[in-house]
Symmetry: C2
Subunit: 321 residues, 2 copies
């Protein structure tokens, strides 16, 4: 019995706005949750203290810290090797933050940390659409585009722990300005913000009729495009067609790298369903090298959006021996 | 003593023109070699028979087949999982050829097979510039552009054994026609034939003075460009500058995938030295995502060209337990 794991792990989905905790059992049931605001916590020590304070009652609820095997954290720019968040543009803390160590010292349990897209991939591998897969690529379509790459059943972390930044593959020479300081990155076209940007461009540059003209130009969001497309709006459908084409062509290049069994898409944009998935599939099969045709599945995450990130982070906790 | 390996492996570098065999000891000494022509062997059974016949005296030279631990083969379109050569455009045999099995049956030893660029990467990892590295990308610059990718110390083979086709990443929408049937693949610009093509384009489209005009247009080869560049020819230097830029920018995208410790370049084009390596480095550092800047080394293979492929194939033989 001595190697038997304690029954729960803590998963933390650390986002720019909220920090969501879940206590997760070995069957992927989130048995208790709590959360605090990330935004506004300029002092990292205060942030960790407030997290621990919020966790206390939910930890008690499952029988105390001696029932907790470990903690896993998924965070933007999280580095698995160092357990630190490194230069995350959308978090309140600058530089390198040794967050895994800080939580470990306060809670007295092992803590692992990785970037949010890697955590999503681990969650998918343990609980979702990637169960049993040894080679797949997770693409997260949110405010930005993230990725978690699994090769031979292992996360691709690279020499520095920062591998898997497919949102910043340049898909268009001298293309759209990206937040990273360069131009033409995949995420400038295929993130939620990229879709909204495409919508604004089409509305400004053409006089095609569209429901989207009813919305003030600077307030159009990707979900407005999805709603309009759902009503049969031609311009909105064209926007998803174009977004899917760029994404499918990019995935064709990624296949030349790791020939994955599947691409798994996650995040708000996937709610558009076939409107986005069909163009992805078409562009992928039309573009990919012949030896890879018909091989990779194009899947949508099987994990519920809200729980997925916490489950992914918790999967990291279960990795602790 | 029962787990001690026998003292030699056979390495086979199977190319479109020649098939070169080496008997290799555990210290990477090629103690005996032989070769036969690949070209002209339309019958695969006859080919294997002729190979075995050619191998007999060199096997006897080291003490007979009981001294041979295993055989490793590096071949175009070689699939590690199946041990087959699959649809290789530049070999005399069509479809899928179970070559590992065929050699194993005739020689009575285990045989492993992989594609030639993967074999080169394994050779580099075991004997060359990648010793001790867990994450690197091998780029072979020959008639085409091949690649072997190592992640977490393991070859990236993908779901089908065919991963690592970076020569067929599309770097230019609607770019140059590629032998694979698509347009704009990296190898149409950065292979030896790509360099010659760039030379012909510049000569035809401009009236810039260059030594290359002394050569009939359809006979210009990449080595002519290297010779001219070595003499200070401005057009020849511009050709390498442009080739290196495309390669460096492509590598910047590859870094977003696996964040390798190094890119290792192999093949005839690397003989141009700094003329090609300097533009690669400049373009890479200017293009790569900020978090990856200054991390990846840009190296030239440390293995002698002729021996490298055989050594790489032999490394595969040593993998046999």
């Amino acid at each position: 019995m001595e190697n038997q794991k304690k029954p729960y792990v803590i998963g933390l989905d650390l986002g720019g706005t909220n920090s969501v905790f879940g206590i997760v059992d070995q069957n992927a049931n989130v048995v208790a949750t709590t959360s605090i605001k990330t935004a506004g916590h300029g002092d990292i020590n205060q942030y960790v203290d407030d997290c621990v304070e919020a966790l206390k009652p939910v930890i008690e609820q499952v029988g105390g810290i001696e029932k907790i095997h470990a903690m896993g954290i998924g965070a933007p720019n999280g580095n698995y090797y160092t357990g630190s968040i490194e230069f995350a543009p959308n978090l309140p803390w600058k530089g390198k933050i040794p967050l895994a160590q800080m939580f470990s010292e306060r809670l007295g349990i092992p803590v692992r940390l990785t970037n949010d897209a890697n955590a999503a991939a681990m969650g998918e591998m343990q609980y979702g659409a990637a169960r049993g897969m040894q080679n797949f690529i997770m693409i997260t379509l949110g405010t930005g585009v993230g990725s978690g790459i699994v090769v031979n059943g292992q996360m691709v972390l690279g020499c520095d722990g920062m591998a898997g930044e497919l949102g910043h593959v340049i898909v268009e020479h001298n293309g759209r300005q990206c937040g990273c300081g360069r131009k033409g990155c995949l995420e400038t076209y295929c993130s939620a913000t990229g879709v909204a940007r495409t919508a604004r461009e089409i509305i400004e540059k053409t006089d095609k009729p569209t429901l989207l003209r009813d919305i003030p130009l600077d307030q159009i969001e990707s979900k407005d495009v999805a709603i309009a497309a759902g009503k049969g709006d031609e311009v909105a459908k064209e926007i998803f067609e174009e977004t899917g084409r760029i994404l499918g062509e990019a995935c064709a290049n990624f296949a030349a790298f790791s020939s994955p069994e599947a691409f798994i898409f996650f995040g708000g944009l996937t709610k558009a369903g076939d409107l986005i998935m069909d163009p992805i599939k078409r562009a992928y099969e039309a573009t990919v090298l012949r030896i890879f045709q018909g091989k990779a599945k194009m899947l949508v995450s099987e994990l519920d959006g809200a729980a997925a990130a916490v489950l992914g982070a918790s999967a990291l906790g279960w990795e602790v021996k």
